[in-house]
């Protein structure tokens, strides 16, 4: 393998990474495709292009993207505030950010449904102004935003902490306006971690099951997510159908993640290029 870099340890770390990934991710996941291959092409297409399956892809994709965008906008502001702005209760809020990871997804789903249902503390107020949340696509977006938020905040926090305040100060002394400092110094430094956080929140949302099924209402064609469809197939002992849909979902996630990672490398290379 041709590689560029002079530090030691490439062989060891690369080898270990690949080995671990293969054992834990690639080989098990390849079984999914192997099992789906027990269908012939026609059967496979029938399963994965079934109108209900297609509707579930649409719901899943749309809600995941919406939630990831909400997080990509709100996440950096939250992360920045939690690190740079000091106010009472900051530590507590910071701690709460991990909640969506710590709570079992089913509990999150139940808690969110309780809060956002028509008789819930927020849901009742929102329903009163004509915005029902639970059991609509909006409810799914709420659940997926909840699930994805820590990905964005936690990947951005170390980068913000690492951002040298003196650089910003130096820039302002050099006469850069706030906007210029933001655009030329802060954005390039934080963009990689923001993109990472966005990609992870998005990808996680695509596969989310536990928290969604409680709040979505699971109505076919409207609020049925792809993960639920997989479970439905399994309940019928239809492993081939379940793995076929699982494989489609996996392939879609993979392509999306790969595209976002590619974008990130590309932008990183571009900024490197202008600095050189």
């Amino acid at each position: 393998m041709k590689r560029v870099g002079v530090l030691p340890g490439f062989g060891l770390t690369f080898g270990f990474t690949v080995l671990w990934l293969s054992a834990l991710v690639l080989i098990p996941l390849s079984l999914l495709f192997f099992r789906a291959a027990s269908l012939n092409l026609r059967e496979f297409l029938d399963v994965v292009l079934d109108p209900r399956a297609v509707a579930s892809y649409r719901v899943t994709l749309f809600c995941s993207l919406a939630a990831a965008i909400v997080n990509a906008i709100a996440g950096p502001i939250v992360a920045w505030t939690l690190i740079r702005v000091h106010f009472p209760g900051r530590k507590l809020l910071d701690a709460v950010v991990d909640l969506p990871f710590a709570l079992p997804t089913a509990v999150s789903g139940i808690a969110l449904t309780a809060v956002y249902a028509k008789n819930g503390i927020l849901g009742s107020k929102l329903a009163a102004i004509g915005i029902p949340v639970a059991f609509t696509p909006l409810g799914i977006i709420v659940a997926l935003t909840f699930i994805g938020l820590p990905f964005v905040v936690r990947t951005m926090q170390p980068a913000i902490e690492d951002l040298d305040p003196t650089v910003e100060e130096a820039a302002s002394i050099l006469g850069a306006s706030k906007w210029q400092i933001f655009r030329r110094i802060i954005v390039p430094a934080l963009l990689p971690s923001l993109l990472t956080g966005f990609a992870l929140a998005f990808a996680r949302a695509l596969g989310e099951y536990g928290s969604v099924i409680f709040i979505s209402g699971n109505m076919p064609l409207k609020t049925e997510v792809t993960a639920l469809l997989i479970v439905t197939k399994l309940e019928q002992f239809d492993y081939a159908g379940a793995t076929a849909i699982g494989a489609v979902q996996l392939a879609a996630s993979f392509v999306l993640l790969f595209a976002i990672n590619g974008l990130q490398w590309w932008s990183a290379r571009r900024t490197e290029g202008t600095n050189a």
Binding site: V47, D50, P51, R52, A55, I110, T113, A114, A117, K118, N119, A134, F135, I213, F214, G217, N218, M219, P220, L221, K222, L228, V231, T232, K233, L234, E235, Q236, F237, D238, G241
Partner: protein
Amino acid sequence: MNLLTRRQALLSSAAGLLSACGGGSGTPSLRNVSYDPTREFYQEFNKAFLAKWGKPVEIEQSHGGSGKQARSVIDGLEADVVTLALAYDIDAIAKKGRLLPTNWQQRLPNNSCPYTSSIVMVVRQGNPKKIKDWDDLVKPGVQVITPNPKTSGGARWNYLAAWAYALKQSANDESKATDFIGALFRNVPVLDSGARGSTTSFVQRKLGDVLLCWENEAYLAKREFAAEALEIVIPSMSIKAEPPVAVVDVMVDSRGTRDIAQAYLEYLYSDPGQTLAAKHYFRPVKGQTSTLPEMQLATVQEVAGGWTAAQEKHFDDNGVFDRIYKPGSPAS
């Protein structure tokens, strides 16, 4: 290999230490893999059985959705006995897992069903929508809560109860019955994945006007949520839900637990077993008289020609249920 086993043993013992739970490897164990609504019943039944059995034995309970539990057993979950919601699920263990003979239903009395149940309706205090029977469920403005038949065994019983009624009303006209089912599911605002999820939606989220559920679950919910003053409506006819039990031959033979497994299931048919079943709102099948009201009940055999046929016709992909939710159909 050896190393792995030892490591596994170490892990289990570590877990044992951490969890401070008893049951050393010396005590034989019996594992009952069951479905959701039997939790409370088996908790009490296991105590009674242990007292009767006399020898030290640890009974391990596993509960979950009936289909999921069957799948786990097929995929290797060690179960000495299975006590599931439908014969179809144990059939799958026999056919796909080859863990017991396909004629398993003939091995215990009453088609291996030690208790039966049925499907009833639960309404809110005072029955504000005046729901009396199945016809009331298809009226506009009535919201029905039932889980998804594709993911819940109980929901399949709900569905078949409605189907049985529709067939009877239309004198076995299946297209009219299909229309009736379609109209009913158009009134379903939310499809939970499991029976208890539906109960929660109905009671906690205040969704819907009527909840379709197991008879035993209805009485349990009425008791658990006493403050809600739920009312139970007995429809003019319903389905005879027959949750079967079986010994898993391959497992008991490899674990040496056949005797106790057999005794365990037979005890379900004994007087104490039947009394406990009745106490938990199941309908006993021998001797005991149930305190539950008389109901006109059809069997799966009568309305659908058995579980395999019912599954294929109604619940498999592109079955009657799926057609309700085809794009362009009224419910979609």
